[in-house]
């Protein structure tokens, strides 16, 4: 539609259409979440309750945090293939050192955030493809996780169990947590001036550099934030499962990427949406597990159905983007 209009002089109706598709794009994540929730309510009304939301969504919180982590990396036009194993590594540290020797555990976790920031520096300075670097790192994190916890076990620190087990009045904890995460990241990335610089470093790095901002610094900050949210994700996950396993986070890498894209982000151009990413993560978590369980699909087809649901949800997102372009 927009392409047919003369460049530089968009008509009123053209601007109207553009505005409407942009609105649709912003609403799509919320819309897909509403559809999935509607389907769940129809299949199993019992799930739509305080208890139901607490159970269905509590494992979505670590996914949402991992998705935010991935979103920071994608905002800088990079991709992080190591977030899943990093979450597993953090989980193992949380269930062992953070429980037995809190100071050592905290130091290791802070150190791992620093490692993330340094990876950002390495990728920027040597101009390396982030996919290769983070794929390599995914094996490093996995290896370290197995070294720390050769067989499943460990125990989450009591204070962490208290945090994840918190039961606020009226609104289930996972929903409160999702709102808080979305609000904080939205404010930091979308409403502050340095947030605009960070997004700009992905959208138009040349302009940001010419304006006098250090691209090295923006990349380190983006990767550092990715590390921070990766740590938060791993800790929350262990708070919920109470015990760790070196392979516990492996599935998160692809879920996090899908969550960012579903939430309205783009692989290129620094176009991301924190609120969308959180909603995208919740949608994926609900579509993949509760919806599937409640649909009572024969066991032979469940694995395929899981993939099909993800494709349908993501395809809806792609259709809208196509209309906009």
């Amino acid at each position: 539609m927009a392409a047919l209009l003369p460049a530089g002089a968009p008509s009123r109706s053209g601007r109207e259409t553009a505005r409407r598709t942009r609105l649709l794009r912003a609403l799509l994540p919320a819309l897909s979440l509403a559809i999935v929730l509607g389907a769940i309510a129809w299949l199993n009304p019992r799930a739509i309750s305080y208890f139901g939301f607490s159970l269905m969504l509590n494992l979505a919180i670590p996914i949402a945090l991992a998705t935010i982590s991935q979103m920071f990396v994608i905002a800088g036009n990079e991709l992080d293939l190591s977030i899943g194993t990093f979450v597993g590594f953090v989980g193992c540290v949380t269930a062992t050192w953070l429980h037995d020797a809190p100071l050592l555990g905290a130091a290791v976790l802070l150190g791992s955030i620093a490692v993330y920031a340094l990876l950002g520096a390495l990728i920027h300075l040597r101009n390396l493809p982030s996919i290769v670097v983070t794929l390599g790192m995914s094996f490093v994190w996995q290896g370290l996780a197995i070294l720390i916890l050769p067989k499943p076990g460990g125990k989450a620190p009591d204070w962490l169990l208290a945090v994840t087990g918190f039961k606020p009045p009226f609104v289930p904890f996972p929903i409160v947590a999702a709102l808080v995460i979305a609000a904080i990241v939205h404010f930091g990335l979308m409403r502050t001036s340095y947030g605009a610089v960070l997004r700009g470093s992905g959208g138009n790095p040349a302009a940001i550099a010419r304006a006098g901002w250090s691209l090295l610094r923006t990349k380190m900050v983006l990767f550092g934030l990715a590390g921070l949210f990766g740590v938060l994700s791993g800790m929350t996950l262990i708070g919920i499962t109470t015990s760790a396993d070196a392979n516990i986070g492996n599935g998160y890498t692809l879920l996090a990427i899908a969550g960012v894209i579903l939430g309205g982000g783009e692989f290129m151009g620094g176009r991301v949406s924190p609120v969308g990413a959180v909603i995208g993560a919740l949608t994926l978590a609900l579509a993949a597990s509760p919806l599937l369980t409640f649909m009572r699909i024969p066991p032979d087809w469940q694995v395929a159905a899981n993939g099909a649901i993800l494709i349908v949800v993501l395809a809806a997102r792609v259709l809208i983007s196509r209309r906009e372009a």
């Binding site: 199993n44 799930a47 499962t241 109470t242 015990s243 396993d245 392979n247 509760p290 066991p299 694995v303």
Partner: protein, 337 residues
């Protein structure tokens, strides 16, 4: 006193052979984390057959199977939470991790749901565990070997997947039994990963450096590979303990027909899933005195009966045994002694 009472109650039940039938409104779910090998397929098939019949006979209202897309812990934890919401009365589970699912398992118990784990068990105390006595199986391998090789000699051990509790238990049993049978000596040990190809390669690699071997003690899924490695090297065929796989029993049959080759075969039956199902049903039935840790025997075959079982095992499959409710009661009773 309580135990004696419970035992006699069970004995009466066993004698009458019928259920109390007040579980006809109860729903049992099966949470499975992996379906990608022959053992798991066989496990699902056994479960399906027994559970479907139980539903048809109105013993339970529903017995649904849920398999996750990957082997991931969080996926299965989420699945368990969904099953809680779905309103199941019991969950039978083959777990992705012994510890990392405890959070979700505890939530299920707190919601009043009976949880029975098997094969991949969970350590949360509120759950039931159906465990196979692998240590005893390791011991029996050596004892059977002593029958076939009364003069003793050198043994080769093939181990399973490193770092697993199953490999550890079988190895422990074998080591203890060899200590009690000084005529045997383990002269070599390789890792076969319960897989014929891996075992064949591992045995072929170590074979040239070994003194003459009279027997092989292993963990199942590796016997046929070992036999192939010995044949390829042109070495005399030792007594190889088998693990109930179709290819292993088929090879045994061929050798027996040729020259009366003798050995023994034992492994965990994938049908142990059906025992877990009955345990869940019996707990729902009001048998609160069932011990939380149930040890069940492994499935074994001897020279006389393996050929009868062979035609029933699908190619590439494993010998299985499906439990009836009476079998389950008997197995529980054995654990209450």
């Amino acid at each position: 006193m309580k135990k004696i009472f419970a035992l006699s109650a069970l004995a009466v039940l066993l004698a009458s052979g019928t259920a109390l039938a007040d579980t006809s409104g109860k729903k049992i779910a099966f949470s499975n984390n992996y379906a990608g090998n022959s053992w798991r397929q066989s496990m699902l098939k056994s479960y399906d057959a027994v559970a479907k019949k139980a539903v048809a006979d109105k013993v339970v209202a529903a017995a649904d199977v849920f398999t996750t897309a990957d082997k991931e812990v969080p996926t299965q934890a989420a699945q368990v939470q969904n099953l809680i919401l779905q309103g199941y009365d019991a969950i039978v589970i083959n777990s992705a991790s012994p510890d990392a699912l405890n959070g979700a398992i505890k939530q299920a118990c707190d919601a009043g749901i009976v949880v029975v784990s098997f094969d991949g068990i969970v350590t949360e105390p509120c759950a039931y565990r159906v465990v196979v006595d692998y240590e005893k199986m390791g011991k029996e391998e050596v004892e059977q070997m002593a029958k076939f090789q009364p003069k003793g000699g050198n043994l080769l051990e093939i181990r399973g997947l490193a770092g697993t509790s199953i490999d550890d238990a079988i190895h422990k049993g074998i080591t203890e039994a060899v200590a009690a049978h000084p005529e045997f000596k383990i002269v070599g040990s390789v890792t076969g990963d319960w897989d014929q190809t891996t075992a064949q390669k591992a045995v072929a690699t170590i074979l040239p450096s070994l003194p003459p071997i009279v027997g092989i003690v292993d963990q199942g899924g590796d016997g046929y590979g070992a036999a192939q490695a010995f044949a390829a090297a042109g070495k005399p065929r030792p007594t190889i303990i088998m693990g109930n796989r179709q290819d292993e029993l088929q090879w045994w049959k061929e050798q027996k027909e040729k020259d009366g080759y003798q050995t023994w075969s034992g492994s965990i039956a994938p049908g142990v899933s059906t025992l877990a199902f009955w345990v869940a049903q019996l707990v729902l039935d009001g048998h609160k005195d069932i011990p939380h840790d149930l040890i069940v025997p492994y499935l074994s075959f001897t020279q006389d009966n393996f050929e009868a079982a062979l035609p029933d095992i699908p190619k590439g499959g494993v010998a299985s045994h499906e439990y009836t409710q009476a079998d389950a009661l008997a197995a529980i009773k054995d654990n209450m002694k």
